[in-house]
Symmetry: C3
Subunit: 426 residues, 3 copies
């Protein structure tokens, strides 16, 4: 921060100058450091409102607020709530800067997980249930999967401290969404459009292992109906480092319903397994909740526009509510569609998951050439822009954009899952 | 609560009306919500005493108090102490509403575990020591075992998220006693006998797995020498769900001593294994502490009275102190007796454990037809009433009741353990 | 404490009399209990300075201070900082009384681990990564390894609660450095030289397993350039108990550098494995940081002086800075040298680790006769004195002492690692 432009509604909140190591620090923004473990700093409560920023003259009554949850398995979990005056979202620094939900009027990005609390990582054992412990805390709209590995549990090789090959049990979707952020900063641009940013650094560091640093950002403009996730991943180790990163965005009722539709310009759709293969012809429509439904997962290879970007949209049955996701395939080439239309009490949900890979076990993904690598000090950025459509006209406009992007190119729908890179001997 | 009848000894404690979802809420009781994660509410400290309840005119100077432990592995563990004027007990919301101990004069329900602190679940790894991590926090008088599984660790099959059969390592006695309560309520009835209730909801929910909700209650009347545990388990998922529930009640010195006796109307007693078989003829008497003693466990199938209830009693050697347990075999058909008369420093203790099953691994119990199932939204209730006897007359009175219940029916004592449902190929 | 001799710089800090159970309580010291889980006591903040002790008339402006870290994975970690007026060290009660670092001018005992936070044990899963979870929190100058086991992960037998043989996965370096202290006491001697002591009790207790109690102490004299670690381990169980204890002292830049030297009177040096064997001839000198370096570990069997003590020294390349370690081989007969001269960002470090064994898996160490045992109530004490040398003269003086200790006795350098006690069938 350069000048003391904020006027606070609470006392004794000191501002701290921007720290250089954050890759995307805007040059003319005021900043509030909410967490910085280097300084042993962590604010329990904090609030900033439109009226507190002298340079802000807009109409949208935006607000950013931090508080800490109490009770049960969520005791001590930190939440940052952002209201841009039009849409609201909640970020969870304690859970790797995951995003609990986004709301705009009657459109909710989020779902009703059977997990009712925002579970503190101290109550999660990722090794539990054969490596499925992750799902005991899974209820966010957007959970990042990674970083050393994402996807299914199972054995994979690694190099131990002695230089020998060891075997380790990978756990579902990795660690990143159960690591608390070490640095959390809220910034509001001094100049119009006064973009609000919640940024957090989540470190996945192991002594003999990855030294991966993820700077996450979610930003929005006051009054806007869209927002952007924009992350930068850096290898802070001295050796090349594999990584996987999947943005596990989850949608439930009311957007998801019988007849809801995924609009995507897909070059190819492939079922994840034989079970999903049976329903592959209906990949882009959703069924009503059904008890005992077994998940159907599809690999989607999207088409891009000339700049390398694609857009997908989930729209409700009536076609008057929707959410769109727009990103670059150079950053996130693969899209996983997870259909989990179980009973509502069990977690009726679909995941639309752009990623650097599909969520197979890392060993499988590596064999398929979909595990990425970062050189020492190399960074890669990932950005997804989300729009919310609240009228039939808005929904149709986005659907037409996707149609234009497709440009009459065909979709190849595979009848069988991709071949197993490790076939069992017969 | 309908009217503000409590007068508080501490400031600023607000009362909150009873919440409808709690199944056993008494209609004319005043209530204090101590924890409710839905409301992000958790009181660190609270106290309510006889003089605070205007409608109470009795002599017994009862008191209910909440506080939070500090230091070591117990830092952050919440305790609710109830003194009904005659007996005292301590409930641990942080450890699944387990009960640390009960005291009435010189009779203690409890034991001297080598674990000296009330360990916070954040320091417990149930997967540790080959699935025996549970015992690193085991020191309660009463720990519930369950809910997805209870009993010995070992492999069992389950259905993974892909619909395929997976194998998971069950951990000793399940998770429920290491899950913090999400909702805790203290109620005191407005009308005589002004029953005091400490109630807590503990959720064992997994996304691809059980959605089990346990409402626990421990209640007592001011001035009484007895109390009741009364729980209701509900399947909140949309599919039938297996469960196991064992009430692991543990008794040490001074009640347990050389010559102490288990008085029970047993139809059949069977040793758990070959080791226990050697001592089966002395199943109902206890030995002095002995270093290196290896646990002896017995399966007891009790007789019931006409209403389906049974009573057991543990009495000291002199027969002038005792504790009785009375429950319905329709709810908890099996009784496990765990003799662990090791040296005092190692945890001289006996467990008397009514359950829906015996504590074999779930796979074994399922093969024997002792794993229960709940349909969606189905509930089952479990209730045990405990009495404390402090004179020879009182002890004898209970022993006679048990004798009457037996009604001259014989006890079959098996010389060998029940057959292994999974015999190894020879 | 006998008399209220402290005057405090903060209000409302009550002193509590010394508790008898602490084995090394000095008779004429003033004491402050910072943590005692028996009393549910834990101070968040506390400070004591030279001026607060009436009987202190010295020049050194010493200070002892406790605070609690905030943010990220370190949230809630307690730190005790001691400044004796000349040197400073930081003790971590939350991590088994490990010592984060020691500083005297430009000499630092410590290293730059890629783990940047002092990680709270609640974020550590020792079972993770095939039993290597320990390294996700490893950044102390001095971490104790043990107590039930230390060394490499891997399977070992143990006796389960049923008396049967079970197999458990040992995890790297055991639990002790991830167990919070249950009792922490600071004492300052009333009489000159007014020794300052930070003492802590760390319990490693399992119901069916070890009941080990470790009283740790780090002490220094105001103005001194040395300090002493002095621990007492007691078996509180009724049966003989194996244990392992290794003092994992870690040194990085600037002391460790290309050309830095380990000065030791070694009777024998043996490589840990074939990889280390290749470089055994240069065991006592250090290389520059190198990305991808694979650790080289050496077993050192030191010579002792007539009283059974040995001294080693790590000196920098110029020979004008050094640290010395002096201890009794009767207490800690084995010295492990861990060379991990990887790139600076990956953790350029050497470990000099006196222990009751080498850090092989316990099964290996037991087969080699290096696993110790304690009878019931038996105690063993371990003490290491550290000196810091800040001039060439001081460094040379210590090096000459080591040379005198050697007394022209030779060093046998093995070309091959010790034989595997469990050779695989060919």
């Amino acid at each position: 921060m350069r000048t003391p432009v904020f006027i606070f509604s609470i006392l004794s909140v000191a501002f701290i100058a921007a720290i250089g190591c954050s890759p995307a620090a805007p040059p003319t923004a005021s900043e509030k450091v909410l967490t910085d473990s280097n300084q042993s700093l962590n604010e329990d409560k904090w609030v900033l409102q439109a009226g507190d920023l002298q340079s802000y003259k807009g109409d949208a009554q935006w607000k950013v607020e931090k508080h800490t949850l109490r009770g049960g398995k969520q005791d001590g979990v930190e939440i940052i709530e952002v209201d841009n005056g039009t849409l609201q979202f909640r970020v969870i620094p304690t859970r790797g800067m995951g995003i609990l939900d986004v709301n705009l009027g009657d459109v909710r990005l989020g779902w009703d997980s059977p997990i009712k609390e925002v579970v503190h990582p101290k109550f999660i054992n990722l090794e539990s249930r054969g490596g499925l412990g992750w799902i005991e805390g899974f209820n966010e709209w957007m959970a990042r999967c990674g970083l050393e590995y994402a996807g299914h549990p199972g054995k994979d090789e690694f190099i131990t401290n002695t230089g020998a090959k060891g075997e380790m049990d990978l756990t579902l979707h990795g660690k990143i969404s159960n690591i608390p952020a070490s640095e959390v900063i809220v910034t509001v641009d001094e100049k119009a459009p006064h973009t609000i940013r919640v940024r957090g650094r989540v470190d996945e560091r192991v002594f003999f292992g990855p030294k991966l640093e993820l700077w996450t950002e979610i930003s929005t403009k006051p009054g806007s109906n869209s927002f952007t996730i924009s992350d930068t991943l850096t290898n802070r180790g001295s050796e090349p480092q594999e990584f996987m990163l999947i943005y596990h965005a989850n949608y439930g009722s009311p957007l998801l319903q019988k007849g809801a539709k995924l609009v995507a310009a897909a070059e190819r759709v492939a079922p994840f397994n034989d079970h999903a293969a049976k329903a592959v012809s209906q990949w882009d429509t959703y069924a009503a909740p059904k008890s005992g439904f077994v998940e159907e997962v599809y690999q989607i290879f999207p088409y891009a526009d000339k700049s390398g970007r694609t857009t997908i949209q989930l729209q409700n049955a009536k076609g008057d509510r929707g959410v769109s996701m727009n990103w670059s395939l150079k950053e996130l080439p693969y899209l996983t569609q997870w259909k989990n239309t179980v009973a509502k009490t069990d977690g009726y949900v679909t995941g639309l998951e752009p990623g650097t890979s599909f969520p197979h076990n890392r060993k499988w993904e590596r064999a398929k050439g979909r595990v990425s690598k970062l050189d020492p000090d190399q960074s890669r950025s990932f950005s997804i822009t989300f729009g919310i459509q609240t009228t039939k006209t808005e929904v149709d406009t986005v659907a037409k954009e996707i149609d234009a992007l497709r440009a009459n190119r065909k979709t190849k729908v595979d009848e069988k899952p991709e071949s197993d890179p490790f076939p069992k001997p017969e």
